[in-house]
C-alpha cells in the first residue's frame, strides 16, 4: 500500500514538514485546490487568513482505481487512526 498525502501547501512547505516529521511517503501540493474540489473536500475559508483548505479525509483506492474504504471525519480534530487505515488495507487482500 502506498500512502499519499495531499494539501494546499506549497511543495516547499510540505518539504519542511517532511524534514521535521521524518515522513518518507510522497506529499503532494494542490495549491489551487483543484483535486480537493474534485473530491468535494473543500473547506472554504478555514485556513490561515481565510484561505480555502481541504477538510481531513482518507480514501483507500485499489489497483483498479476504485474507492474501497473512506473516512470523512465529522470533527476535524478526529482523524482516521493508523490502525483503522491498516485494517482497511488488510481487508483488500
Amino acid at each position: 500500500m502506498q500512502p499519499i498525502a495531499i494539501s494546499v501547501d506549497t511543495p516547499e512547505q510540505s518539504r519542511d514538514l517532511c524534514n521535521k516529521a521524518g515522513y518518507t511517503f510522497p506529499i503532494l501540493s494542490d495549491g489551487n485546490a483543484s483535486v480537493i474540489r474534485q473530491y468535494d473536500l473543500l473547506h472554504k475559508g478555514a485556513g490561515e487568513n481565510g484561505h480555502d483548505i481541504a477538510r481531513p479525509a482518507e480514501f483507500l483506492v485499489d489497483r483498479n482505481g476504485v474507492v474501497r474504504w473512506r473516512n470523512l471525519t465529522e470533527d476535524f480534530r478526529v482523524r482516521a487512526t493508523p490502525e483503522q487505515m491498516l485494517a482497511a488495507t488488510r481487508s483488500l487482500h
Partner: protein
C-alpha cells in the same frame, strides 16, 4: 481568593496545555479530557473559594472569567470543529477515484493512476501545515 485564583490558573493551564501539547496525540486530542479534568478541579476550587470568601466581588469576577473561558473552550472543541462541509459529491465506496496529477515536494509530477497500477493507494487529504 487564593483558591479562586488557583482555579483560574488551572483553567488557563488546561487550555494552554491542550493547544500546545495534548493536541498532538489522538488519545488526548479527540476528547480533550486533560483540559476537562483540570476544569473540574478548577470548578471545585473556585466554588469552594467563593463560598468561603469574606468579600465576594473579586472572587465572583474571577470565577465568572474562569467559567467563561471553560465555556469558550468547550464550545470551541465541540461546535467549531464539527463545522465541516457536507462533501456529498465525494467519491463513495465502489466509485472510481477521480484521477489527478499533482507535484510532490521536489516538483515532480505524481499521477494517481500510475500509482494504482502497481499498488493500492491510501489518499490522505489534510488541512495543511501552517
Amino acid at each position: 481568593m487564593k483558591r479562586v485564583l488557583l482555579g483560574l490558573f488551572l483553567v488557563l493551564l488546561g487550555i494552554v496545555t491542550y493547544a500546545a501539547l495534548f493536541v498532538r496525540w489522538p488519545v488526548t486530542r479527540d476528547v480533550p479530557w486533560t483540559a476537562f479534568a483540570l476544569f473540574v478541579i478548577a470548578l471545585v476550587l473556585m466554588i469552594g473559594g467563593l463560598r468561603n470568601a469574606p468579600r465576594k466581588v473579586w472572587p465572583s469576577i474571577v470565577t465568572a472569567i474562569g467559567v467563561a473561558l471553560m465555556a469558550f473552550f468547550t464550545v470551541g472543541v465541540t461546535v467549531f470543529t464539527l463545522n465541516l462541509p457536507a462533501s456529498q459529491g465525494s467519491p463513495a465506496i465502489g466509485a472510481k477515484a477521480p484521477d489527478f496529477t499533482l507535484p510532490d515536494t521536489n516538483h515532480k509530477s505524481v499521477t494517481l493512476s500510475q500509482l494504482t497500477a502497481s499498488s493500492n493507494v491510501l489518499l490522505i487529504f489534510y488541512r495543511g501545515y501552517w
